[in-house]
Each structure stands twice: as C-alpha cells, then as structure tokens.
C-alpha cells in the first residue's frame, strides 16, 4: 500500500530479540535471587518486624486579633480509633463502646463506615473522650481489642468573640473529599481541614507541616522500636494575625443585639477590616463537641439564617446611597451646575407620563441644589437629574465603584450582587416591557433589581473617602496592601459629593443628624432606607471619619429595621464615639 517494501534484516530482528531475552533474564534472575535464594532473610524480616513510616503532627497556627488577643487556639482532646482487622466481635464490642461513651450503635457504625481507610488502618469513631471514659476503656482493654485512644488537637475559641462568620471552622476530612485536595499537603481521612472563613482561606499558612517518624512494627502493626534515623520533624503552622479589633467587634455586636444586620468598620488607608459583624450568628462552640444532627438541622433551617455571613453573602437593595452614583455622573460629566437649584414640590411627573413619583417628604424640600439634595436625600432632585444620564453610563459608574464585582476580600464564598444593565432588562421584562427613563427613576434611588453586599458598600464608601485611590479590603493584617483600580474623577467632583456627605450628618435637616458627634470628630455619611419585598425597609448608614490623621469608614445595616436616619444613624454615631474614646485611651497609654 505504501511506497516501500519492508527491508528489515533478520540480523537486526535477532539483535533486538537478544536484548529482550537478556533484559528479561536479568530481571528474572534478580527476582529469583530475592525470592528463592534470599527468601529466608526477607521472610523473617517481613514476619518479625518491618519499618513503617508514621506521620507526626504539630499544632495548627493560632488566630489573633490586631492587638494580639487570641481568638482561636488549640486544646488537646482524646479520640477513639478502631482498626477493622483487629476486631474480634464488632457488634458486641461496639455495644461496649456505646455503653461507655453514650454514642448510639447506629452512630458508631455510621462513622465507622464514613471514615474507613481500609482494613489495616485506624478509623476515628469517637471524639472528646473524658478521663472517666478513657479509664473505663483501659479497664475493659481485653474486651476491646482493636480499639485505641490517642491525643488529637482541636480548636478552642475565645469565649466572648467566637464569631463563626469570618473565623470559619475546621471539619474532618472524609474519603469523598480527599481527591480534590492539594496532594503535596498529604491529607488523610479523619484529619481536620479549614472549611470556612479564614480557616479555609489561610489553610496553607495555618496548617502544620507533617513529619515522618520511622518505627519498627510487627506483623500485627504493633510498635516495637523507634528508629531515630531519617526522621522528618513536624512543624507547627504559622499564626494568623487578623486586622479585626476584638473590642470594637464586641462593642458593635452588642449594639446590634437581637437585630438582624451587619456592621463593618475599616481602616481606609490600609484596607484593614476592624470589625465584621453579621447578626444573627452562632457560636463556634458547636464544633467543639459532638453536635447532634438535630442541632445542625435547626441551625440550617432557622429562618433568620444565622449561618450566612451577611457581609459577603447577603444581598440587599442599597437605597439612597446610590443617589451618589447619579451625583458623580452629573458633576464629573458636567451635565449640570451643582449650584443650580430645582424645585421639589413633593412629587415628580415625568414629561409625557401620567404616573407621579413621590418624594419621601410629602410637602416637598422647596429649592434644592446638589448639596441639599444629598444632605436631605431628596428624591425629586434625582428623579429630574437622572433624566440627563444614559442607562449605560449610569451602570458603568456603579461598576466603577466595584459593584457587580468581588471586593477580593480574603474570605471564601463572596457574592457579587447585581447591577442590572440593558441586557438584564430585556431578558427580564422583554424588549418592550420597560423603558430606559423608567428604570433609571428606580435605579437612582438604589431600588429595583439592584442588589449589593454590605462589603461592596464598604468598598464604595472607601472609594469616596480616599478619592479614588483605594486599598483593597482584607482581614489578614500582615497581608501586603494592594489597591483597587484607580477611579480618576476630578478633585472638584469628589469634593462636591464629600461636602454633601458632611451636611448629611453635621447640618440641620440632614438625614443622618442622629449620628452627629459631640467630640471634634467629623463624620461624613449617607443614610439609606431601602424598600424591599420582605417587610420593613432595610436601614443603612455608610460613612467615614478622620481620627488622628487616619481615615476610617463604617457601614451599618439593620435588616428590616426601618428608616436609615432613625435606626442606622444612631448606631453609627455610637460606634464612632466609642472608637474615638478607644483611640484616646490608646494614645494616653
């Protein structure tokens, strides 16, 4: 079929055959030597004892707050393991264990199956053995062949500050998750791994590096002798210092008390998050012992959703703070003179429409310029002015401030929210079911299809406080400062908006007057009252302030709390004064 006849030479064929024969002979003779001539030696070696590599462990790194307060540490517990092939009578032995530990036989069997690593390797079936239990196991040692207790470090959480949301927790590895993990870390079933929060994010840093110890064991796997050669020591994990300030975190959490909501405080210059409260929460203590499936279920089904970290995974309409997006557009693009005043009569009727849109103040704000419109959060002013802006430009500006993107916080499971654009409206309402002018009336108030996370809102206020050159938000105090993409608005644009934010809190008639400080500290901010389909509006306060030459920002959100001015502002005010006192205290020390 092809061009050339096979011209292989019988000599070459024989050469290769010889090489083959020769190589296989070498291999076989070596096998013969090992298995037949030297059999006695290896047979006794395999029977009497053998060297086994045993993993050794070191403690996981601690988690501290910025001032060195220990948030998460380790404490030793005892666990019970079972080696399947050594069991004499599994059912009756499990019954004994069940009597001693009070764990049901079904539960023991479930764990036995779940963490099984093979007939010859120990499987964990009980944790947190008390000394009473250990001594009982020791007493009935003869009945319990195949069972063994050993030390196992677990996490111990700070009594007061054990917020599950950013700290996260550890989980035992089961066999199903093993194939998806970094193989270089040598994970084994039954070991603990960071499963949420910073425990997950900084798993590599916190995790110890496993060591190896060589021991001689007999055919039953019993340890005979330690060989102190070639051992590789285990090293403890590195500590993680968070940017969180425990006192501030604690104070903020107490302020929210039984309200659902979020409080975030950050250092604008570094991006450090000083406080991250998401309420309601749950205590990490549930990971300490044996948590029954029922407890878990009620936690998962709780309609207040305590397991969700609202700061990064809660989605809310932002409300009036988005009026600033319109304001930035107007001033930066020179669409109107900020000094020009419009008349607010309490309602607005778009040209050629019969619908009337109301201002929150029924008898109107009278003559309103940009400053007053921001300070008093006048709807009519923004209804009228947003008509000068195209939808695409408006959504673009919102995205410039990081909405619809992750903030890149060092936590897993962050959501990006939603900034609706033209495509979204076409997909949702059909080609003719909406109009650009109409949706903008909603968007400019931060309502209708916009969803943001509180952390995005914090990033937004940081952009304004730092005039566009903004450090990325982070929880790890030692992480190097990175920056978001610069927002290049003119100095005048930033100043106009910041002036408005000043008036919100500090000038009579401003919507955030309840946050005004008695001290010298000047708070800038914006209140929002975000209507939503789930009941009362969400109350927001986003703001920033300068203290001792540094700039700090905060976001307060009370879910279904009511008005931003009435509910969120006082909380913000209290936080800032507490922070001020704290700072003075620190300075005096």
């Amino acid at each position: 079929m092809l061009k050339i006849e096979n011209k292989a030479d019988i000599f070459h064929y024989r050469t290769l055959l010889f090489v083959l024969f020769f190589s296989i002979s070498i291999l076989l003779s070596r096998y013969f030597y090992l298995q037949v001539i030297d059999y006695e030696r290896y047979s006794s070696k395999s029977q009497v004892n053998s060297i086994r590599a045993k993993a050794t462990y070191a403690p996981r790194g601690l988690i501290l707050d910025r001032n060195g307060v220990v948030l998460v540490e380790n404490y030793p517990t005892y666990i019970l393991t079972v080696t399947p092939y050594k069991l004499s009578d599994k059912d009756s032995q499990f019954k004994v264990i069940s009597e001693i530990t009070d764990i049901s036989i079904e539960e023991l069997n479930r764990r036995y199956k779940k963490y099984n690593q093979g007939r010859f390797l120990p499987t964990v079936i009980a944790k947190n053995l008390t000394f009473a239990e250990i001594s009982q196991i020791e007493e009935r040692r003869l009945e319990l062949k195949g069972f063994q207790y050993k030390r196992f470090d677990e996490r111990l959480y700070n009594d007061v500050l054990n917020d599950a949301h950013f700290l996260g927790y550890l989980r035992e590895l089961d066999r199903e998750s093993l194939p998806f993990l970094d193989k270089s870390q040598l994970y084994r079933a039954g070991e603990l791994i960071g499963w949420q929060g910073v425990e997950k994010q900084y798993e590599k840093q916190l995790r110890y590096s496993k060591g190896v110890e060589y021991i001689e064991v007999d055919t039953f796997g019993r340890e005979i002798n330690r060989i102190n050669e070639n051992n590789i020591p285990a090293y403890p994990g590195n500590n993680l210092i968070l940017s969180i300030d425990a006192r501030l975190q604690q104070f903020s959490k107490n302020l929210l008390n039984d309200k659902k909501g979020v409080i975030l405080i950050s250092d604008v210059d570094t991006g450090d998050i000083l406080t991250m409260v998401s309420n309601p929460s749950y205590s990490l203590d549930i990971y300490r012992g044996e948590t029954s499936d029922g407890d878990w279920d009620s936690l998962l089904k709780d309609e207040n959703k305590p397991i969700i970290n609202r700061t990064i995974s809660g989605l809310y309409p932002p409300g009036s703070s988005f009026k600033l997006i319109t304001a930035f557009n107007l001033v930066e693009d020179g669409l109107l003179d900020p000094e020009d005043s419009l008349m607010c009569t309490g309602s607005y009727t778009p040209p050629g429409s019969s619908n009337t849109f109301k201002c929150w103040k029924e008898d109107g704000h009278g003559l309103v310029d940009l400053n007053k419109a921001i300070a008093q959060s006048c709807n009519v002013y923004f209804y009228e002015t947003v008509q000068l802006i195209k939808l695409a430009e408006w959504t673009n500006t919102a995205k410039t401030f990081g909405f619809n993107f992750k903030t890149d916080i060092d936590l897993p499971n962050e959501l990006i929210g939603q900034i609706p654009d033209k495509e979204f409206f076409i997909n949702t309402y059909g080609r003719w079911g909406w109009s650009e002018r109409g949706v903008l009336l909603n968007l400019t108030l931060g309502q209708g299809d916009i969803l943001v996370t509180p952390l995005q809102s914090l990033r937004y206020i940081n952009h304004i406080a730092s005039k566009g050159k903004t450090a990325k938000l982070k929880l790890n105090a030692s992480k190097e400062i990175e920056y978001y993409e610069d927002i290049n608005f003119s100095e005048q644009t930033w100043q106009r908006v910041v002036n408005g934010l000043y008036d919100v809190v500090n000038v009579d008639g401003g919507s955030g007057w309840r946050a005004k400080q008695e001290s010298e500290v000047k708070l800038y901010g914006k209140t929002s009252t975000a209507e939503n389909p789930h009941g009362e509006p969400h109350a927001w306060f986003n703001g920033f302030f300068d203290l001792n030459g540094k700039t700090y920002s905060l976001v307060v959100l009370v879910e279904n709390g009511g008005g931003g001015g009435a509910v969120a502002s006082p909380i913000a005010g209290k936080i800032v004064s507490f922070f001020t006192d704290l700072n003075i205290e620190m300075a005096e020390k």
Binding site: I4, L27, D38, S46, I51, T219
Partner: protein, 406 residues
C-alpha cells in the same frame, strides 16, 4: 472472514496471539487490584476505576482502528506538531502537584507527554522509511535525534524526567532496524555510558577497555577514532570532578530535585526497602491472593500503580512473577514478529518504536521494584492502575493492529 473478525485478528495469526497475551496481562492486573482494594466494588476503588478505564480505552481503540495508515503516514508531521502543542497547554494552566504534566478534564487527567512519544515515533519512522535516504551515511542519525531531543526537552521542562528518557528509548532500536551503521550507533551511546560508568573506578576501567576493543574492531579513519576515544575518556574523567567540586551541595540537590520532583517526602529508599522486603518474602509460590502482609498492611507505597509488580511478587511468589515476565517476553517478541513480517517498511518501523516504549516501561518499572534503578513514577503496561497510561497502551495496540494489516 467477516469484517469484524478481520479487524480483530488482522490478516496474520500474530495479532490473535497478541490479544491473548494482553488479555492475560489485564486479567492478572485486575486480579491484583482486587486483592489490594479494601472495597473493590465501590466506584472509588482502583479496581472499579481500572475497569472503567479499560472500557473507555477499548472505545478509543476501536475508533483509532478505523483510521487508515496512509492517513497517519501522510500527516505524520501534523500529528507531531499537534501533540507538541498539546504538551504546551499545561504550561498555561495552573500546575497539578507542582508540575505541568497534566491537563485537567475534571473527571480525569490527560498527560499529553504520553502522546508525544507516539507522535515522535511516527515522524521518525516516516523519515527513516523514505526510499531516497542513504541509511549507511552517518548523518542519518541526526534528524531522528533532533526530533527526540525536541520532544524530550519539552517534557523535561514539565518537568517529567521519566517520560523524557522514554522518548529516547525508541531511537536506537529504530535506527538499528533501519540499517544505520552499527559503529555510528555505538558512538551515540558511548558518552552516556561513559558518564554513568564514571561513578565507579573499576567499572570505568572495564568500560574503557571494552570501548578500546570496539574501536579496534571497527574500520574507519584512525585519527578520528583516537579523537573520539579520548574525548570519551576525558568526559568520564572530568564528570565526577565537575559534579563533586564545581557544584556545591546545594546546587547538586537542586539539580537532583529538578530531575526527580516526585521524590516522596517519606524518602525513596524507604520505598525500595519495602518493595524488596515484599518481593523477597513472597518466596517461590507467594503468600496467596489477598494475603500479602506487606501489601495489605500498606507498608508498600503506590502499590496500585508503580509497585504493582511487588504486590504480584509477594502474593503469587516467583511462580507468579515468572508468568508475568514470560507474558511480557511473549508480548514484546510477538510485536517484533509482527514488525518483521509486516510488508510495509513505515509500518514496520513504527511498530518497532512503539514496542520499544512498551519494553522500556516494563524494564524500568520492574528494575525499580527490585532496586536496580532509582524510583521513577513509570507504570507497567496493561497491569498498573492508571487511566492516561492505559489509554496510551490501547492506542499503541490499535496502531499495531492497524499497521499489521498490510
């Protein structure tokens, strides 16, 4: 004969024998995997996974069986370039276990380096089967070596020393098969042996003597021979000096780490010791299926792939390992028979190349388990667990079946 049968058995009796041998090897492998899986019937066990891999590979086997050899011959350059580019893809993906060897498809990994081996062989075969080529001329060796070197360097950067070495394995047999001057072939391998021999003084002296005799035997320009001979001797003399004195300990370690990135943190000598103990304690007839204490107590590492022969040796003894070795011998011999009897030269050369790959895997892997070679993660054909390599073996089988039809 109906078309299905003619596809299966080809036009000669060797193909039938080939399938019989391979089926036995696969059966032996599965038997062993069953014995070391704690729950062989669960989907995550290496036993069930192996069955799935085999079924999938069979599918690919039948697909490749449909490709015309002429298409392969005419597009060999294209096939090579394609495989080469495929090997570049992992460099743009995130590393898997700190190397750039794999492309992650979610459910399974593909190691494109495996396919570059085949592609290099096909390209070299096409070059050597060209009827205008004067095979007796010395320059003929240059192009095949460049092809192998290119592939090898790429794979070395992934880094994957095992595959990089295996890519070179077919070059020598193929050149020999094509009738290249034997002395030229000797010149090719001499420096490599020199460097290795330099590790030991006595071996080096013996090697110098052998080399001297060979140089005497072959005809050729006297001055040229003398120059090459002494170049070899000097390389051998200088290498230990370079290694010991020129590089400091840290650099040597870096170099060794680069060559052997999958060095187990528990130490590779530990592997060898455990493997040899397992093999030796197997004795003449082994400890019985599922009864190997070294295997079952997990003393033996990576037993389902790299050290599967040690498991066989422990559980089935010298008797079992002899059967495996005889099967391997017959496998390679049958392949050489097919290559020899093949009517077409290109096909014949490709089969020799593919056979060399299978053989080098067999040899390196077996030699490793008995401590004759350093630990390298190379699986045994048709016996070891592992999807990517099993697929390669079936692709080789499909190509051989196809090529033998002439």
């Amino acid at each position: 004969m109906n078309p299905f049968n003619s596809f299966l058995y080809g036009s000669n009796e060797y193909i039938g024998r080939l399938y019989l041998i391979i089926s036995s090897l696969i059966a032996f492998g599965l038997l062993t995997l069953y014995s070391i899986s704690s729950e062989p019937l669960s989907l995550s066990s290496s036993f069930s996974r192996q069955i799935i891999f085999i079924l999938f590979s069979l599918l690919i086997f039948f697909l490749i069986g449909r490709i015309n050899i002429k298409t392969i011959h005419d597009n060999s350059t294209l096939i090579y370039i394609f495989s080469f580019l495929l090997c570049l893809i992992p460099f743009f993906l995130s590393p898997v276990e700190n190397t750039y060897r794999w492309i992650d498809f979610g459910l399974f990994y593909i190691q494109p380096g495996e396919y570059l081996k085949c592609a290099s062989i096909i390209l070299i075969a096409k070059y050597l089967s060209n009827h205008q080529l004067e095979v007796k001329e010395g320059y003929v060796v240059i192009i095949p070596i460049i092809i192998a070197l290119m592939s090898s360097l790429l794979v070395l950067n992934q880094p994957d020393l095992g595959t990089a070495v295996i890519i070179f394995a077919p070059v020598l047999p193929m050149l020999l098969w094509a009738g290249v001057n034997t002395f030229n072939l000797f010149l090719l391998i001499a420096p490599v042996i020199t460097i290795i021999a330099a590790a030991n003084n006595i071996i080096f002296n013996i090697w110098a003597l052998i080399m001297f005799l060979i140089f005497l035997t072959f005809q050729g320009n006297f001055i040229k021979k003398i120059t090459i001979y002494f170049a070899n001797i000097f390389t051998g003399l200088l290498f230990p000096f370079f290694w010991n004195d020129f590089l400091n300990g840290y650099q040597r370690q870096r170099f060794l780490d680069f060559l052997n990135p999958d060095l187990d943190p528990m130490g590779s000598s530990y592997h060898i010791i455990q493997s040899i103990t397992a093999i030796g304690s197997g004795g003449l007839f082994g400890k019985g299926w599922g009864q190997g204490s070294q295997t079952q107590l997990k003393f033996l590492p990576v037993q389902e792939s790299d050290f599967i022969l040690s498991v066989i040796a422990e559980e089935f003894g010298f008797f079992g390992i002899s059967i495996i070795m005889i099967l391997f011998f017959m496998l390679i011999k049958t392949l050489l028979d097919i290559a020899f009897k093949c009517s077409d030269y290109f096909s014949s050369l490709v089969i020799v190349g593919l056979t060399s790959i299978l053989f080098s895997h067999i040899f390196v892997n077996s030699a490793m388990t008995i401590g004759l070679m350093p630990v390298k993660g190379l699986p045994t054909p048709f016996v070891s667990a592992g999807g990517s390599f099993m697929l390669l073996c079936f692709i080789i089988l499909a190509l051989v079946t196809n090529l033998s039809k002439n």
